[in-house]
């Protein structure tokens, strides 16, 4: 259900294996986060995490989603380490009978991942490095649920 890893993942293969055996689930939603170089100066994105806590925190978020919506399954993969623009950082996938459940659960997972999973991003720019600040709107997004 949850993978925390340094290695890249194959989104297509992950979604295929996720969908297999869920034939009574009509709706599968995925979200993929990609490192983006907004201002053109990003050399790398370093992702730090809290090894002892990360998998547990993600599993708790996944279990929370399973309890709130009628889902056939949830998958979360999150990478750590040094990534470059264009690299996939993470993915979530949800499977449900109805598309509304699959969409809402995927958005919920993302909102919680952003602000409640112990990851921190550091941008390595051409002219220095800086930690990415949490955004107020990400914290606000949790109030929906």
């Amino acid at each position: 259900m949850v993978q925390v890893q340094e290695a890249a993942f194959d989104l297509g293969a992950e979604l295929d294996s996720f969908g297999t055996g869920l034939a009574d689930m009509g709706a599968i939603v995925s979200f993929t986060g990609v490192v983006r170089d907004v201002d053109g100066g990003l050399e790398a994105m370093e992702i730090e995490h809290y090894p002892g806590m990360t998998a547990k925190a993600l599993e708790a978020i996944a279990a929370d989603a399973m309890g709130r919506w009628s889902l056939g399954g949830v998958k979360i993969i999150h990478r750590f380490g040094r990534l470059v623009p264009g690299d996939q950082i993470m993915m979530v996938a949800t499977a449900a009978r109805h598309r509304k459940d699959a969409f809402e659960a995927a958005e919920f997972l993302m909102d919680y991942l952003k602000s409640r999973a112990p990851f921190w991003k550091k941008e390595h720019l051409k002219d220095g490095a800086q930690w990415v600040a949490a955004r107020g709107e990400d914290e606000d997004a949790l109030r929906r649920w």
């Binding site: 730090e48 809290y50 806590m53 999150h78 991942l113 602000s115 999973a117 990851f119 921190w120 949490a134």
Partner: protein, 81 residues
């Protein structure tokens, strides 16, 4: 107890983890003990509203009792996803 630091908290304090002997009753008391030690702790803990804490790998708050906690971690707001 083990005290862990992540992201810029780790960088300011200059280490990722240390063993701390303490009889602090709450997280806030533990922070006060650390701040009293050295300037780099004072710099790291200057604004608690900019920090988050986990006690035994569960998100917690600064007024939480430490009880028999074996691991306390300090870090900035998380930026996953």
């Amino acid at each position: 107890m083990d005290v862990l630091y992540f992201a810029w908290v780790r960088e300011r304090i200059g280490l990722p983890k240390e063993r701390v002997e303490t009889s602090a009753e709450t997280v806030r008391d533990l922070v006060a003990e650390l701040v009293a030690r050295e300037e780099r702790y004072e710099a790291a803990f200057a604004d608690l509203s900019a920090l988050r804490v986990a006690v035994d790998q569960e998100l917690s708050d600064f007024d939480a009792p430490l009880g028999d906690a074996r691991e306390v971690a300090f870090f900035p707001p998380m930026t996953g996803g």
